[in-house]
């Protein structure tokens, strides 16, 4: 698998390089610049895998054993308190700091553990993220592992909100549980949300070395997951066996440790996300080459048939007009984008308000009916659980709807661009016989999809909104580190013991109890207000970024198209002025160049078809 992947990468890179060369040869620096950026993205491609699970299940040990390096602090007593981002580096370096990439500063590797395990209750805002770069082959292709603080109690944990947010942008999730006992209900519930937000999930069962009954636990866990409607395999792991195997060369121990399977899963994830990046790069190359072909074809048509020059000029002027429209503020896609984002803003606002309102009502009902002695202790975890579940569902709605908007806008842009190309491509307009489908490419695909593919935005879904929500690891970490919702502290919890120690619930069902209940209601209300405010701010911020990102992407494409049309016009005008002698010479040259470019575009198309045909994500 990795070899095939490498070969594919090499082919795409070679193609992109050739396309850059052609673009530069034809002085289309705008195309060349975009291709170079695309090339860089392929090389630097990153694939974020989140390691999540409850406290003390061996998440940090898993990362260490996988990489055979002590990059995460593991101690029986202190827990990981700060997310650790582990990526490739030629040598070991450690940085810490804010969620923002730029805000991190290098630290002495010796201090790493102290940073990772700081007690989040005692320490003020210190490092939000620890970033470790290690020279490990597994990470070379862009795999980034994120070790997260444990979520005790699953969704009911106050930490869960930020972890769930990070999940929305992760390429895969490794969910960690251990062989000491079967999955608990909160764990299953957490897994269900994880699987809803992230498509690739692996559930691992750690510490198989310690518990003779691990097979039974694994079977029970798989049964629990099936009951919850999750078809996830459970992979048993042992870091002790892995370390022993690597130290002594005991290959059976390495196999028994289960780690080779985990590594295979991670490689598969890298390959799948890499494929998406490759498809985008191949599509960009194809798009650029098509534009170059069109330009040459225009020139050639002008050379062969100068009589139709007027007609051609008119067509191109029309195209230029359309290109300006496409780029301008009045363009249909931009209107659609603005409208849809506006709609989406109110949809998500409403969604959030309804969800919080439902939680509030449920909480008040609970307060009203619950016996304070029995049930108030559980109100806080219960409230966190409800809030986190609501926020996770809200986030999913936001992501799905944003994906739809991106799709729609791409479709609209594609239609207009398609029409524009039809006009600009005067060869096609003026001479149907020469309208070779390979210049437009991928004729087999539906028109809107073909146009999108041609524009190099094949992976617009998940590619753009996902990227904005957190695909890039820098953003991912923003998500991990934000949303530290204030814990709810019921002022009454400590008093209840004293209040009811000497009296009965019935006797206390008086003014005192009413006052306590009112106090608890107020606390819950304040907390939910805070939650709603922060979540709304976060959501709006995400929407704003999605909006801006989509606008930039399509405006970029429009600019490129406009440049193409402009060049075609120039070429046409230039060609017309040349004499017969030069014309003949140029015609020959153009023919040769056109043949070469068409062949290249054909290769790009074939490669793209290959990538899209087999890459399930990109083809959507």
């Amino acid at each position: 698998m990795p070899n095939a992947q490498d070969a594919e990468t090499a082919r795409v890179l070679a193609l992109v390089d050739e396309a850059v060369h052609e673009a530069q040869g034809r002085r289309r620096d705008d195309l060349a610049t975009r291709l170079v950026a695309e090339r860089r993205r392929v090389l630097r491609g990153s694939c974020a895998v989140l390691v999540v699970g409850e406290f003390n299940k061996g998440k940090s040990s898993l990362v260490n054993a996988l990489l055979n390096a002590r990059v995460c602090a593991t101690d029986a007593d202190v827990a990981t308190a700060v997310p650790t981002v582990v990526r490739f580096g030629e040598q070991l370096t450690v940085a810490s700091g804010g969620a923002d990439d730029a805000a991190r500063s290098p630290v002495d590797p010796a201090d790493t553990e102290a940073l990772q395990t700081r007690d989040d209750r005692s320490a003020p805002a210190g490092a939000e993220v620890v970033e470790v770069a290690v020279p490990r082959e597994l990470l070379r292709d862009g795999l980034v592992l994120v070790d997260t603080p444990g979520m005790g109690g699953g969704l009911a944990s106050a930490h869960a909100a930020r972890a769930l947010r990070a999940l929305a942008g992760a390429d895969a999730v490794v969910f960690v549980t251990d062989a000491s006992q079967e999955l608990t209900a909160p764990e299953v519930e957490l897994l269900r949300r994880v699987a809803g937000l992230c498509r690739r999930v692996l559930c691992v069962l750690t510490k198989l070395d310690l518990y003779p009954e691990w097979r039974r636990i694994r079977d029970l866990d798989e049964a629990h997951l099936r009951t919850a409607g999750l078809r996830l395999p459970v992979q048993p792991l042992s870091s002790a066996l892995r370390h022993h195997g690597l130290r002594t060369g005991d290959r059976r121990a390495v196999t028994d440790s289960g780690y080779p399977r985990l590594a295979a899963f991670l490689r598969g994830t890298v390959a799948a996300t890499g494929r998406q990046g490759l498809a985008a790069a191949a599509a960009a190359a194809h798009s650029a080459l098509s534009q170059l072909v069109a330009e040459l074809a225009t020139a050639r048509a002008a050379l062969t048939d100068p009589a139709r020059q007027r007609e051609q000029l008119e067509a191109l002027r029309d195209a230029q007009h359309r290109a300006e429209e496409l780029r301008g503020g009045g363009s249909r896609w931009l209107q659609l984008l603005n409208d849809r984002i506006g709609d989406l803003t109110s949809t998500v606002d409403f969604d959030l308000a309804m969800r919080i309102r439902a939680v509030r009502k449920e909480a008040f009902d609970r307060l009203e009916t619950a016996d304070p002695r029995r049930e108030w202790v559980e109100l806080e975890p219960w409230l966190h659980e409800r809030v986190n579940a609501a926020l996770a569902d809200h986030l999913r709605l936001l992501r799905d709807q944003a994906d739809e908007v991106a799709d729609e806008v791409a479709g609209r842009f594609g239609e207009d661009a398609w029409r524009l190309r039809a006009h600009a491509d005067i060869v096609r307009v003026t001479d149907q016989r020469e309208a070779a489908p390979d210049e437009i490419g991928l004729a087999a695909l539906a028109a809107s999809r073909a146009s999108r593919v041609e524009l190099g935005i094949a992976a617009v879904r998940g590619g753009s909104t996902g990227a904005v929500l957190s695909h890039a690891v820098g953003l991912l970490v923003v998500a991990v580190a934000s949303v530290p919702l204030a814990p709810v502290v019921f002022p009454t919890a400590a008093l209840l013991g004293g209040l009811f120690a000497r009296t009965t619930y019935r006797a206390a069902r008086t003014a005192q109890l009413r006052a306590l209940r009112a106090e608890a209601e107020r606390t819950i209300s304040l907390h939910l207000d805070e939650v709603e405010m922060r979540a709304r701010r976060d959501t709006r911020d995400s929407l704003r970024r999605i909006h801006q990102h989509l606008r930039d992407v399509f405006a970029g494409h429009a600019t490129e198209l406009q440049a193409s049309v402009h060049r075609n016009l120039e070429t046409l005008a230039h060609t017309v002025r040349e004499d017969q002698q030069g014309r003949q010479e140029r015609l020959q040259r153009a023919d040769a160049e056109l043949t070469r470019l068409r062949a290249l575009a054909g290769r790009a198309e074939a490669l793209l078809g290959e990538l899209l045909g087999t890459g399930p994500e990109a083809a959507r």
Binding site: F55, L208, P212, G497
Partner: protein, 505 residues
């Protein structure tokens, strides 16, 4: 019982209960009152609570020293089981309605198997297992079914059998909460110390146990030491202080293994100590069939009895030359299990205070009963209850201790709280442990200590900066100190006073 009025409390309580019994004679609540009187003469009831797989049954077996409790998930672990001292080994099933019925109790492979016969687990109120055991003379142990996890079965939580129903006596006098290693920010963390089943429980009669201590940190050989450190951290947590009086680490499996260790187990472990290190790498390898010095069946037996962590620890002890025979290994395993500390806490803090805890429980039950089923003499009886609650200094102490732990009474300085709690008898109700003196301190030292402490609290109480809380604590503690002085033979005090008056004259 060293403080003043200690003789009076049981007598006054019995007199009160007799009056209450008369008031309720012929009513449906008569049985409840009768049960309260009987209860005063019974051993202390200690319930073991905790989530599923927290190691409850293992601890129970270790405490009794026999494999009495079923440790796997059979029918019986779904029923509350009482373990009592009795004339013979026998078991009874108590259906919810109907008379108790004796059920079959067999020993199979050193394990106890109870046959419910035609009875269904859900129809049973409890199972009572009687064994002749010195360890159960002062304590009755109650094993509760594990409760599933949070939010999964809030509604399914119908395990009310141990609950305080208004007007009835709480079933358990004290509770041991078992919890596995959790982070202090975990949702389940406090939950572990706080069980719906035990509403009559206050921090004074509850202890938290960090169970399965041998598995902490992936089963390292120093797991138990790390567990001790974690337990110490838990003890510092103010939220935990309000729920239990202390948190102790315990490795039930090690204790059980120590108790049942035979010479041939030791021999097998010694042989394994010479084997390759990689044999101990995983449970699979250890139980596997390839060329280890000891027969695979024996290895599997060891694994079941002490877990891989127990085997690792034993082998490490043997290799280091710390133990030479089966007896020493058994002692060492037991010492490291932390069971002795748990037993000590049980005996010094629960059993010693047994009468007091039962008296307190009985009084509160009467209060509840008076609320739940009013009788004409109710007000007079209530006044009598109040009188005892306010008058018996031990109960006042207990209440203050409780209020200090839960934060109802707040002192300005944590050191002051610590001092006050110890003096109130948190670590033991004897004069020496209250004064923080060694167990063999002479009477003179006790008197001197009590006198110094009395003056100290007098000063604190009368200080112009003392707030209401300090004044209340100081008032109670002054009486405590006076009681301590009074309990130690008085003759020294009078000459002192005579001396002073004579010198003043």
């Amino acid at each position: 019982m060293t403080t003043s009025g200690s003789e009076a409390l049981p007598a006054r309580l019995r007199a009160l209960l007799a009056t209450v019994a008369a008031a309720y004679a012929g009513t449906p609540s008569a049985d409840v009152v009768a049960a309260l009187l009987i209860r005063l003469d019974e051993p202390l009831r200690v319930a073991i609570a905790g989530r599923l797989k927290a190691g409850k049954s293992t601890l129970l077996n270790a405490l009794i020293g026999e494999r009495l409790a079923a440790t796997d998930a059979g029918e019986c672990t779904r029923v509350i089981a009482w373990y009592e001292n009795g004339p013979a080994e026998r078991a009874w099933a108590h259906p919810r309605d109907g008379a108790r019925r004796q059920i079959r109790m067999d020993r199979v492979d050193e394990r106890t198997v109870l046959q419910l016969g035609g009875l269904r687990a859900e129809d049973l109120d409890r199972i009572v297992v009687e064994v002749p055991s010195a360890r159960l003379e002062r304590l009755t142990l109650i094993d509760t079914p594990g409760i599933g996890s949070l939010s999964a079965d809030v509604s399914a939580r119908t395990v009310d059998a141990l609950n305080v129903v208004d007007g009835q006596a709480p079933v358990a006098d004290a509770v041991l909460y078992l919890m596995r290693h959790l982070h202090a920010s975990d949702v389940g963390f406090l939950e572990a110390f706080h069980d719906h089943q035990f509403l009559g429980v206050t921090p004074v009669n509850a202890i938290g146990l960090l169970s399965r201590a041998d598995e902490v940190g992936g089963g390292r050989t120093d797991a138990v030491e790390i567990a001790a450190r974690i337990a110490a951290n838990y003890r510092q947590d103010p939220r935990v202080r309000g729920l239990v009086q202390t948190v102790l680490p315990v490795a039930g499996l090690l204790a059980e293994a120590g108790a049942g260790l035979r010479e041939r187990d030791h021999a097998a472990l010694r042989a394994l100590a010479g084997a390759d290190e990689s044999l101990l790498l995983s449970a699979d390898r250890f139980a596997g069939d390839d060329g280890a010095p000891v027969d695979a069946a024996v290895r599997r037996e060891l694994l079941a009895a002490m877990g891989l962590t127990g085997v690792r620890l034993s082998v490490a002890l043997i290799r280091a030359g710390l133990v030479r025979d089966a007896g020493e290994l058994a002692r060492e395993l037991r010492r490291r299990s932390g069971l002795d500390e748990v037993r000590h806490a049980l005996l010094s803090q629960f059993a010693d205070r047994c009468d007091l805890l039962k008296a307190q429980a009985a009084l509160h039950t009467v209060e509840r009963l008076l609320d739940a089923s009013p009788v004409p003499q109710g007000d007079r009886l209530r006044a009598q209850v109040e009188g005892i609650l306010a008058g018996a200094h031990e109960l006042v102490e207990l209440r203050l201790l409780n209020d200090l732990r839960t934060g109802v009474v707040q002192l300005p300085d944590p050191a002051l709280v610590e001092e006050a709690e110890v003096l109130l008898g948190r670590a033991g109700s004897g004069a020496r442990s209250r004064l923080g003196l060694p167990a063999d301190a002479p009477d003179d030292a006790v008197r001197a200590g009590a006198l110094a402490t009395l003056r100290l609290w007098q000063r604190r109480g009368e200080s112009p900066v003392a707030d209401a809380a300090v004044q209340r604590v100081a008032a109670v503690l002054r009486r405590t100190c006076e009681g301590l002085l009074g309990a130690t033979a008085a003759p020294v005090r009078r000459p002192l006073r005579t001396l002073r008056t004579s010198s003043g004259a």
